[in-house]
Amino acid sequence: MKEEELPQVSTATNPDGDARLPTPAHDASSVIRRAPQTPPDKPEGFHVVGKAMAKTDSFTRVTGQDKFADDIFLPNMLYGKMVRSTVPHAVLKRVDASAARALPGVVAVATGADILVRYGILPSSPDEMVMALDKVRYVGDPIACVVADDELTAEEAAELVDVEYEALPAIGTIDQALRDDLPQIHENPRRTNNIHKEAHLEFGDVEAGFAQADRIFEDEYFFEGNTHAPIEQHAVVAQYGGDGKLTIWCSTQTPHYLHRIACAVLGMPGSQVRIIAPPVGGGFGGKTEPFAHELAAAYLARKTGRPVKIALNRQEVFYAHRGRHPVRFKLKTGVKNDGTITAIHLQSWLDGGAYGSYGVATTYYTGALTTVTYKVPAYKFDGCRVFTNKPPCGPKRGHGTTQPRFALENQLDKIADALGLDAAEYRKQIAVDPYTSTVNGLRVTSCGLRECIDAACERTQYKTKRAAMRRGKGIGIAASAYLCGAGLPIYWNDMPQSGAMVKVDRGGGVTVFAGTSDCGQGSTHMLAAIVAETLGIDVMDVSVCFGDTDLTPVDLGSYSSRVTFMAGNAAREAAGKARALIAQAAAAKLGSAQERIGFAGRRVYDLDEPSHALTFIAAVQLAEAQFGTLATVGSYWAPKLAAGYKGSGVGPSPAYSYSVAVAEVDVDLETGAIQVEKITLAHDVGRCINADSVEGQIEGGVYMGLGEALMEEWPFRAGEHKIPNLLDYKTLTSLDAPPIEAIIIETDDREGPFGAKEAGQGPLNPVIPAIANAVADAIKARIHSTPITAEKILKALDASSGSTLRLKKMPASQPPPPVPA
């Protein structure tokens, strides 16, 4: 073919705009894929929201093209290694880095004395240093940082840093931390023990509530600590430019909070520091605060003028931790004979590890959401978080609400049994009603708790099975609620919690800018879907620019299940403003009323006469000609919901999601081995933006809950984490994970974007007590601590039968037959 014979492409503007886009190799419209297992009812008119579709970023994920933090390699880059404490509790006598400095290839070493600033994610507990100055508080506590030309040299140099300790007694348990005769991990002249935070709250007439009760149940529970174990190990790259600006790429769920703290720690103005959050390879709450290695990399990049990368190894990830607090509970509940709750008194003791982290909030969270699932007229809560010489605990999926939920739902089943009530019907009977408020001043909006119970029971034939199962087989139910974003930011301010910008290009592409971080939960797709829905275009027409403090408006981050509700609402507002401009221009052209302009299928049309239409591109160009550059903003402020008492800032949320799990288990009564046969989970998501993502979040939450229920542990020996690796730290593999059935319930929240709430964290919470209740059904004995292991089951069986330890009844082991020659 000759050149002249080739088709000609005109770049002159087509007056109608050309909406016939070339079909990309993987056109979004061709990748709808399976009907969701549980198609929720869709109101007429949504063309993106609620559909099950591949996330917009799925296609780059499966090609390996996405750059995670550790995939960034910059020219002339140095590699850093943290020197970490090898003892749990000690005074630092001497840190001598001279041998390390002398090693060829080593470029710089920093120690505690270099950065004399104390910080903490919560303004109320600024108790961390980038590197320890005079004391170490857990095995793994950072002491120094070495940077070298390559990683091996940095590792070797780190070994050469000579550290002299003067050992102090290590505090390893809650009981030890409460004692008055042991040294304080953090000096506190107002106390004689290692209590970090105490909270005491009382609502309604608790004494009268217990006096009115026909029955009072009192139990103790223990929830074991565990960790997020994201597959991506934390990594950071920091670069200090010739212009004096510092850029930090980092696996973080909270770029904005890192921005604030990096500026404070390094003494730099916000305008000179840029945080970029690339895609995060799993967070689950574990990457929501600044880590020492991130700040050390930034400091050393500035000091050396060369880019610095620090990538944690798996052992260090276990030390960075910020995982689930181990919590001990005392739970007292008063009920009438019909099961009506008259009062609850909940006491919690949290093992916080060595630093504050989010712990003040966690403490309140162990008590705050007790009242949002069932009607509780009087409630008393006493919480106490202690310091121990272990890696700091923090927020993990379900932040502080997962542990009490195990206790509450476990005891509720016991109450139902004692009163002869069906556990599912009983929960429906006492469930909170939508659009009410709780005794501790929390506003409940949409609530699909009863619908979730019905759906999960119906799907599993709960009642038939519960009545008919043989001993050893069990079915159990549990319910829970979770936040759709913390009502307050972690530092006091009146600014919006989320901002978004929408820019409409005259070629028909739309970019949404938001400070969110995508840790796999699907926030990028969610933003694209909300904007595409508002503007009547395909999700693949929308690009999302996220998590960059230079480019994107502030979003507080991917924690407390806040992103869909808050960033989603901000994006919706921004897109709505762009839509209004485009509609105004289109209305003039079409001679229609602006309110009668609709957007769908990349067309802008008259709702009363849909054939009377412009392409989206044509309408955009008219609007740009009329109004100038099309760029709009949206902001989300949560309604002011805090009740005003001390601690009332933790718990309020613009909405709560509700989840109900039904677990089916088969327990081997001889060995105690538990086989989870199936988990069915119904989740009130408000409205799902993408059914596939919601299902994925439910399945992931169930999986993570199962690990906590059955195997994940946080064990220490002589102050040292016993199993800081992914082989010994047991998680479920594909062979352990049972079938999971997700049921999506929609309640259309009045304030959520298109009615949406959350799905990232809520579905984890009911799984653990559902397993506990199913095991209790199977063995007719209750287990009051996690994880629920074979050993505990055998002990419980023995205790309930009064026999001696079952293990003793096993036949004496036979020596193996001789190996044939």
Binding site: V31, S58, G281, R314, N725, L727
Partner: protein, 169 residues
């Protein structure tokens, strides 16, 4: 003090093409792929053989690249996630992972894709149990494995259908 042994210049066969690369002979295949060849699609979650994130194919068999020395790879065919798509068309396993939502954060995904690709390319008529067994060495913390198993099944079905209609990959 250990000094890194001098670099060696070797030719490796990566994604169907020979590539000359100089690296320290104590480096793992994972390190050479990511650091010396810029193929950062292959991930790592432990570098101890525990997580499966670093899985690549060596002579079409899944291998944990964090446990293999790159120097031992001469004469073997290495395939990474970057080598799955051909001429801009995703491999059926990639297409299925994207469609099914099998990649949430996507960090474990390259490892699962390579294990899955070896499975669906070499075996037909896969049962769910066979898939579960094949991927038991790959950890995922996001998905609960449900959609990963669905995706492998979908890819297997499509490839069988394509093969029976006379079209090979």
């Amino acid at each position: 003090m250990t000094v890194a042994p001098p670099k060696v210049l070797t030719t490796l066969d990566v994604n169907g093409a020979p590539v000359q690369v100089a690296f320290h002979p104590n480096k793992t295949l994972l390190e050479v792929l990511r650091e010396d060849l810029g193929l950062t699609g292959t991930k790592h979650g432990c570098e101890m053989g525990h997580c499966g994130a670093c899985c690549v194919l060596v002579d079409e068999q899944p291998v944990l690249s964090c446990l293999a020395l790159a120097i031992e790879m001469t004469g073997h065919k290495i395939r990474t996630v970057e080598g799955l798509a051909t001429n801009g068309h995703l491999h059926p396993i990639q297409q299925a992972f994207a469609e099914c939502g099998a990649a949430q954060c996507g960090y474990c995904t390259p490892g699962f894709l390579m294990t899955g690709a070896a499975l669906v390319e070499q075996h037909g008529g896969l049962s769910e149990t066979e898939i579960r067994e094949a991927i038991a060495g790959n950890l995922c913390r996001c998905t609960g494995y449900t959609k990963i198993i669905e995706a492998i099944q979908l890819a297997a079905t499509r490839m069988e259908r394509a093969a029976s209609s006379g079209y090979s990959k």
